[in-house]
Amino acid sequence: MAPLPSKRRKLEHTPSDKSMDEDQSENHIDQQSSAESADEAAIPQLKQAPLRQKHTQAIDDAALYAGGSYKSSLFKLQVDELLAEVQPNYEKRLSGVNEALRKLKTSLEGIEDREPGSVSEATKSLQNSHKITVPFPDPKPDKNAAYKLSYSRPSNINVVGSYALKNMVKTDGALSIDMVVVMPSSIFQEKDYLNYRYFYKRAYYLACVAAGLQDEVKDEFVLTFEYLHGNSLQPFLVVRPKLGDNGKNNKGYEIRIIPAAPPSFFLEAKLRPGKNAIRPKDSQADQTTSLPPTPFYNASLQADCNLEPYLKLLHASSKLSGGFKDACVLGRVWLRQRGFSSRLSEGGFGQFEWAALTALLMKGGGPKGHSVLSPGYSSYQMFKALLQYLAANDLTTKPLYYEMENMTNIKSNLPMVYDGPRGQNLLFKMTAWSYRLLREEAKTSLDMLNDATFDQFESTFIIRTSQQLQRFDCSLHLSCPSKQLETTSCDHATNERKFATCVFDVLHEGLMDRVKIIDIRQPDSSSWSLKSSSPTSSSEPFLVSFVFDPANIDRLVDHGPPAEEKKKAAKFQKFWGEKAELRRFKDGSILESLVWSSGSAYAVFRDIVTYLTTCHFGKEVSDSLIFIGEGFEKMLPGGSSTKSFEALKQAFNVLEQQVRDLEGLPLQLRQLSAVSPQLRYSSIDTPSFSPTQPMKKPADILIQFEGSGRWPDDIVAIQRTKLALLLKIGNLLQEVDTSIATRAGLENDEHRLQNCAFLDIIYGSGAVFRLRIHNDREQTLLERQVKNKSINNLAREDALSALSAYKKTFLQLPLLNQSIATHCTRFLLLSPTIRLVKMWFDRHMLLGQVSEELIELITARTFLHPYPWRAPSSTMTGFLRTLSFISRWDWRQAPLIVDFTGTMNSKDVDSANTRLEAWRKIDPSMNRTVLIAASNHDTTGTAFTDNGPSKMVAARMTTLARSACKLVKDKGLDLDHRALFSSSTTDYDFVIHVSPRFIATQRQKDTKSKFKNLEVQSDIDLETIGYQPVQLYLEELQKLYTDSIKAAPRPFKVNLTHATKLAGAKEEEGEQEVVIHKSAILAEIARLGGDMVSRIEVQR
């Protein structure tokens, strides 16, 4: 079996892993054969089942799935399920569609022609006869225009789009069926492409269609107008079945009647992206060359001509390639989960663009006109190859001209895929920011799919990544100014779109590398009734979203060009206005620069954005700014920066040096390691101390000596020897540094096999460390005892629990501590995110049950396996993605796996899965091991989950996370972050209120008043270190009532009450008449708590 892994990897190698460049065409033939077989696998029941015997086919299938054209067999199986799942049931959901289409077609053909009339005549007649307002685009046509509007029978009526191709995907709303009505060329003139004339005629034609249909089918259907993809040049008619007769049908489908221009009626050469088709009123016609181009207008017109040609292209492609259709469905799902669609407001890259681009690339687009995709690709290969194409090629600087020679390049920041035969830029609806976002998403997904270790199916297709708060670090609302913007371009665009472009340009230039992504969403348009005129632009604010670059976001000084470069400097000054100043830097250079006042990342960012908008768009706009996203970070006590942990870190370094320099230690020192959340940037409260106020909670550290034969060969004796060693270390340290006080303490008095002693090292500065000795001999001795069959079960169990305690404290914790600390410096946001997640657990009273280390692992996962996003760059995204992971984590069936070093392979992942299955088999009711949290340090996955959480707590964790995620989703940007952190006690059986006096001693914050009078007496201070009566009380309660009660402690509010909650029913030992003696137990709890408990509240 050993040679298998390497071989397997070779089999898994998919051709699409390669760059999609020149070697593509050479690979063509063998890929075709392999993918053909994959294609057979996709529809085995159709082709293969009758031909072969069942058994051989199964083996065949298995071999196919295991190798070659898919990422892994698991991935392929899941993709199959997905494809089956998203496919709507055509017969059930779309019953009656064909009849409706036929009916509409007959009605359309029956509409009577209208004589040509002037603009005002035509509008009036429609208004009078049908009360229909013609949906003319802005600017409205001139009343005195010379041309005439008319209607005559459509030259062709056809169904296009995904219904015709049978690759629809289930959606929340109605499924839409596109019906194209080709207008006859008789009503147009050759020059109609100029100055909106075509679009006026088109609008009139549409209104006539609406009028005609209204007469015919008024009883069955509801008619409304809508803009195609939000493009105000292209209104169309929406036909929805009426609700009355069949209640079920209300969401079923809608038919979109789209007028189309006669194909190749207008000259393609006149409508290329570089041409102008909207002449300024006061200029001459022969000035075309010098006029600014109108690419959007041209492309909109061409799009009208190309509705049918594209249907033909896509149809031919699906005939040519078996994987094409499914690849389109996959692309569609992928785009939808990322919030993209053909609509102008949603990026302008949707299923149609995806499919058309795939189809074009299957025929060409590569170097020397070679094709980029092979028709033999399987659906997944094709999907991935398209992602690769999007990610690798920058279509703004290197546009794709498909079958198009001698195109002149136009410089622009918009992407271009020019389809020569059809004369259209496929990506004309995209904006500069949506194209960047699309490429970013493609790159992320590609990286994700290239990760061979983990299954990425869920992140690729299932998770909705477009949730605003999870995706972006900061969002802001921005209102469009009421006055018209002046731009040089005369292309067709709404005022909002122009403004958005300006905003993007300014922010993009001004924020530089502080942000990775800027996205702008305009308010969307909706349908309107036939009688009213098209809705004017709404006053809703824009949504501008950002993804930060954590390394640069809080930079305080920006360097501009040097003063010598006059031109650049002048430009810089012009852009930044009075903020730009000339500065001389340490290295002698004199640079234009900007200095921002210091503050948190959000504060700096807000300053810059506010300044930029005021500077470029005026006060009206900057006053309308509303920033969203900072709230989460502000909740953390002691700030979100890791700086507040540094003092303790330095104290630790000093201690380490002092211990290293100690003379007279009986054994050679190997290492000193930290094992405290306070020393790995992950405790909720930042460690703060001063000479008068030592730390309340000592920071745990471990010391390990070089191996020695002088250790006794007995576990209990080793523990005692450790105690003696600790005393010795304490004395030596005190001799070296008089500011140090030490004291040896005892612990674990009930477990003789476990570590029994620690040494508190208290510095004059107030830093307190708790030192324990790690001796690796313990493990062997304990393991020997566990295996020893001659001792009784009880002793063996003792040894087993001691062994697991040993492994956790002395083996796993140092590793985890190191990993977390390292990654906290690598990912600046990891530390605040961990602290916030811990706080969430704490507020929901789960922190007593779920170990801090487990929370750290869960949070680290969000950063180390961030897909489908990139690693979080703000506390908010980190926190919300972690919550969303918890809500999705099906811990019954899947382990948590965190790979700190990126060294795990799929075999490790498999073994973790197998281990989980084994646990579930041994213990199906999950009484012992509930969560499996493996990492590259601990493949068993139980190091930090051995002592809980129990099934009940784990389920509560999931429920809470789910409801939190639901709240985030429902509230969207209006989310009040505090709502996620408030919890209710109603689910608990009873609540123990601890009197506030004792919380004061537990929380460092509150010690001030309490110990003010004791500040001079250092010996009394010493005693309070590590004295946590509430904690101790809880531990005792848990020990006493292990089976019956779950305690969940947390301070409600500082200085108010401390609520301890206990849930679950008590079962008492006894005979058949078992008495659940709650009140006796409560009385016991009250007795034990004594003066600490103020009140016990019974809930049920």
């Binding site: 409560l1082 007795r1087 708590g1089 016990i1096």
Partner: protein
């Protein structure tokens, strides 16, 4: 009702506290003690189930004094205290068989315990205790008194005929709340000199015990037992090799062998090897595929479908 199975029910009145002002009774179940391994004191012992968590000997003494009058209560032992039969003295004197000796050694180690870090132990909820009374008659009397009290309580409305928990118990065995934890905080940091002395004592006894163990092992090397066999023991002329080291070495050797063998096989020396390997690979692939298919089936079966894109 005064009886459940063969247990007699003894309710105790629990004085109310400010934190939990409800008047409460706590129920103890008791019966004559009949352990599997009988001891001399069985006849005058009572077995108690579900003692309160803060029980001490003083508490139980006061309960039985109120039932039987003073002087009838001899001693009591709680659940996990009874695990080790606390008669070390008797064992030390016996030096006969080997088995005994081991017991003795362990006890010697135990004798030097670390200082206690709690002023008293708590009992787990619902745990048991054995109470030894002065004579057999007291046991019967106790059960009888309880039955009598049951009759009395059913007659009288007030029902406060039962012994009151913690009445007459000295304050020192009733320390609770913050005082208990403060005391614990003091106890867990004993005087360093005390600790040092404790460790020294422990090490002395441990060392003497080690050397005696070594001695006996050495003796066992030479002395045949009754059947004429010589037991093989650790240590000998050669320095003592640790068992696990030997084990490690062995595993290492095996690994080496295995690797060597595998290398030979991987070479595909014979044609049948290549063929078999291929077959194996295919089998493995199919197995993995089946596994994946099963996993997908499981996912499919789960309540929230994993294959529908999130909305």
């Amino acid at each position: 009702m005064s009886q459940i199975g063969n247990y007699t029910i003894l309710p105790l009145t629990i004085p109310s506290t400010p934190a939990y002002p409800k008047p409460t009774t706590h129920t103890i179940y008791l019966r004559p003690h009949t352990p599997k391994i009988p001891t001399a004191d069985d006849a005058r012992s009572l077995f108690l189930v579900n003692v309160p968590i803060d029980s001490t000997s003083a508490h139980l003494r006061s309960v039985f004094s109120s039932l039987l009058g003073a002087g009838k209560f001899e001693s009591c032992s709680f659940e996990h205290e009874r695990k080790q039969p606390g008669n070390a003295v008797a064992l030390i004197s016996a030096k006969g068989s080997k088995k005994r000796k081991r017991g003795q050694e362990e006890d010697e180690v135990k004798m030097v315990e670390l200082p206690r870090i709690w002023d008293r132990e708590l009992r787990r909820s619902g745990s048991t205790a054995v109470v030894v009374l002065v004579d057999e008659k007291s046991v019967e009397l106790a059960l009888k008194t309880i039955r009598k009290l049951h009759r009395k309580s059913s007659k009288s409305k007030s029902g406060d005929v039962w012994p009151v928990w913690g009445e007459g118990v000295p304050e020192s065995s009733q320390i609770t709340g913050s005082k208990r934890y403060l005391l614990h905080n003091e106890l867990r940091f004993p005087n360093p000199r005390e600790i040092q002395a404790n460790i020294d004592a422990f090490m002395t006894s441990f060392n003497s015990q080690e050397s005696s163990r070594a001695l006996s092992a050495k003796r066992a090397r030479n002395e045949p037992d009754e059947d004429g066999f010589i037991t093989v023991t650790r240590g000998g002329r050669v320095g003592p090799a640790r068992a696990e080291e030997v084990e490690r070495k062995r595993v290492e050797m095996e690994d080496k062998e295995k690797r060597k063998r595998e290398e030979m096989e991987r070479g595909g020396f014979y044609r049948f090897q290549t063929r078999e390997r291929r077959k194996e690979e295919q089998g493995e692939m199919i197995r993995r595929f089946e596994e994946d298919r099963r996993r997908v089936e499981v996912l499919k079966a789960s309540r929230r479908s994993k294959f529908v894109p999130e909305k």
